[in-house]
């Protein structure tokens, strides 16, 4: 269903993209930390129409045991797409693509973590793509990194990620679905912002060396912007949990009265 047709152009004569963005502009991005209550840590990202949830469980005991690492925790990422997240129904079983993406996400996140603090354990990162509209592996990294922070896994840094690409010979950041499908290439990347070290780099399509370098520079800039959004999301989540100043005091007084047996609460005595 919902057949998609190739657009006539990806960049219009005014130099704007299909959704009206400038080449170096990322899509409207919404990040929220701690949205799944059962998980030790969780985060949601909406980047344009791309919508992803990430949950972290652990550090916890690792099954099956033969995967155990003696000097550090095993970081196990699982990237899965919902059957309804794409125009044609995706088959429910994990595809080779999903397995590969799970692995590169894990590799992108691991350098930022102090996994040596938890030898023999596992940190599970589950990523569920609810709606896919391009750039899901990068959006997954953005969300998973926040979920790891929310779970209290010690880390050097958050890891922001973005896909840079090319359409009509112009470099673009944060590719949408159409730009990914019909454009001239795709470079998903993730960085550790402070050192600008790159922890994920893949590429398809065809680029000249200079183009590639420039694309990565653009990517680093966008990642730094995303990093700011990540930090804000984290602060928002924890600022919300801090006790509100005025209401709290009254509640403490109530508690005190209860403790002293002076409350009016009906007491059950059989």
């Amino acid at each position: 269903m919902s057949p998609e047709t190739k657009p006539d152009f990806l960049i219009n004569p005014e130099g704007l993209r299909l959704d009206g963005r400038r080449p170096d502009e990322i899509r409207p991005t919404e990040l929220e930390v701690g949205i799944l209550k059962k998980a030790d840590g969780s985060a949601m990202i909406k980047q344009g129409n791309t919508h992803i949830l990430a949950a972290v469980y652990g550090p916890r005991e690792l099954h099956p045991r033969h995967l155990t690492l003696n000097d550090r925790a095993y970081l196990r990422c699982e990237y899965r797409m919902a059957t309804f997240s794409v125009p044609d129904r995706k088959r429910p079983a994990p595809s080779r693509r999903e397995r590969e993406i799970s692995m590169v996400i894990s590799n992108a996140l691991e350098p930022a973590l102090f996994l040596e603090e938890f030898p023999k354990a596992v940190v599970d990162v589950y990523i569920q793509v609810i709606q896919a509209d391009g750039g899901t592996r990068c959006a997954s990294i953005n969300a998973a990194s926040l979920a790891l922070a929310d779970a209290g896994i010690p880390m050097r840094s958050l890891v922001p990620a973005v896909a840079v690409g090319k359409a009509d010979d112009k470099l673009l950041v944060d590719l949408g679905d159409m730009e990914d499908k019909y454009g001239g290439g795709d470079i998903p990347m993730a960085i550790i912002p402070r050192t600008e070290e790159i922890t994920l780099l893949q590429q398809d399509g065809s680029f000249k060396k200079e183009e590639l370098i420039e694309a990565i520079r653009m990517g680093i800039n966008s990642c730094k912007y995303l990093h700011e959004l990540q930090k804000e999301a984290l602060k928002r989540a924890y600022a919300k949990r801090a006790p509100a100043e005025d209401d709290e005091e009254d509640e403490y007084e109530d508690d005190l009265e209860t403790d002293l047996g002076e409350s009016d609460l009906p007491e059950e005595e059989d």
Partner: protein, 275 residues
Amino acid sequence: MGDFSSETISHIDRHYIKTLLDNGERIDNRAFDEYRDIEIEIGPVEAKAEGSAIARLGGTSVIAGVKVLTGQPYPDTPDEGVTMVTAELSPIASPMFESGPPREDAIELARVVDRGVRESGTVDTKKLCIEEGKHVYLVFCDLYTLEYDGNLIDAASLAANAALLDTRFPELKLEDDELVETGKMMKVPLENMAIELTASKIGEHIVIDPHIREEMVQDCRLTMAIDEEDNFTALQKGGGVGPISIAKIEEAMDMGLARVKDLRKLVLEATSNKD
């Protein structure tokens, strides 16, 4: 699914829950026949799925997405389309869920919800036929658990029904042996929406919409699909091997009949804004 009676729960908890019930109370202060807060959100997958919804039942939440494809009918029903409900207990939803091929509990969830939708004649599959014997619509409703805090079946049923009601897809017709869009949009032909309600038997008590800790101590649960005319269109006893008496079944059914209208109203209200 929803069957964690085998999961570890301490004797203290077990005793506590049962003692509370003996005193007419539940662990979250609900009445025995009271549901947790229900919230239904429509269209979380608006851009890619033909229909979608998230249902929240207290701390439990389930997302449903509907995809409509075309394909061949089954040989024994050449003039009927196909509806299918699948479910996955995503590990995202609970520390108790693991990745891997679906286990019995996930299969049970999918099949129970599927029966609620399908066997009750909720969808008039004859209206999903494009050309007899050749082309029909295939309606897939896929469920993913997002948070598990007890009673997944009811949350899944609410999400599935809401997503099916939300579904709009382009009407197709056969022209020169090719399927072309007519330009009109179709709805899923929902004729008689059945809603599923689940009650737990714990000792001599029947409680509706069990909390996760109630599920852990339950003897068994009874899921009932009830249609618009108050007919029971599906039943499933599961969630433990404990036996249940006729009297208790009747008690659960009365509770279900008393609550089903509220649930149906919530689903209809949530989807009423659509055109």
